[in-house]
Amino acid sequence: MNSNSTQENLLLYLYNETWMADSVIIQHAIDSDPEIEEEFENLKLVCSLLDGIKISPSSKSIKKIMEFA
């Protein structure tokens, strides 16, 4: 994999958007190259943090919507 396609593939792999065959190749690259592994782990960490930042609206907003419905 060249540098640009490596970066794109890492991201696609991280977000589960790769085909099975590509996933195997990418995982192999992660396992065999410490730099790629480090980049992947950094991306994964931030990704997991983003998944945790959901904030809910007030119950008042839900009530107003349901009143309209």
Partner: protein
């Protein structure tokens, strides 16, 4: 079968047939993602609440008219409605979102950190708030991709179609968003407890 076990499309069908609880289930299922995606753009909770309400009112009107297409995914559609309402809001108030910048954006905003020990759940909620504040600092294109991927559950292909850029550009923006966020975390020496 519980309403919460039904798919989005099943809940929509039930609502169209008159089951308001089905609609409420649908809203409660997706409220956090939709609200957070709006809040990240407008950065004001009160405005986000208003736009959130407008978003679902638009959703309801479309469902009642019978013009919602079942083939499409419900959540990305709602996120797009919210996103467009945010843009309308900015236009109305003559306020532009953060200036479009290059992907290699240098984050220089500082965040104050508390160093004293606190309970795990307080630590985690502080981290969540800090991460949300960090996302606020990203250039608008990077924030958009983050919102669409993490809250809109859109694929990079869908994001590229929605934002009229190539899939490589979408991937690049997401990559730089994650890199920039990682930089801030390192610079601020945030201790991340998961």
């Amino acid at each position: 079968m519980l309403l919460s076990d039904l798919t989005d499309n099943n809940l929509i069908s039930k609502y169209i047939k008159g089951d308001n609880l089905a609609l409420e289930t649908l809203i409660l299922r997706h409220k956090a993602k939709v609200f957070t995606s709006i809040l990240i753009l407008v950065k004001d909770k009160e405005q986000a609440e208003d736009i959130f309400q407008e978003t679902f009112i638009k959703v309801i009107k479309t469902l009642k008219k019978g013009t919602y297409h079942e083939e499409g995914k419900f959540l990305p559609w709602v996120i797009r409605i919210g996103h467009n309402l945010v843009i309308d809001h900015f236009r109305k108030n003559k306020r532009m979102p953060m200036v479009r910048d290059t992907d290699e954006y240098r984050i220089t905003e500082t965040l104050k950190l508390h160093e004293e020990n606190i309970e795990d759940h307080l630590v985690n909620s502080r981290i969540r708030e800090q991460v949300r504040q960090m996302v606020d600092l990203l250039p608008i294109e990077q924030r958009e991709v983050v919102i669409m991927r993490h809250f809109g559950d859109m694929s990079f292909k869908e994001i590229s179609e929605c934002t009229n850029v190539s899939i490589n550009t979408s991937l690049g923006r997401m990559r730089y968003a994650l890199i920039n966020l990682r930089k801030i975390i390192s610079e601020k020496e945030l201790v991340l407890v998961k």
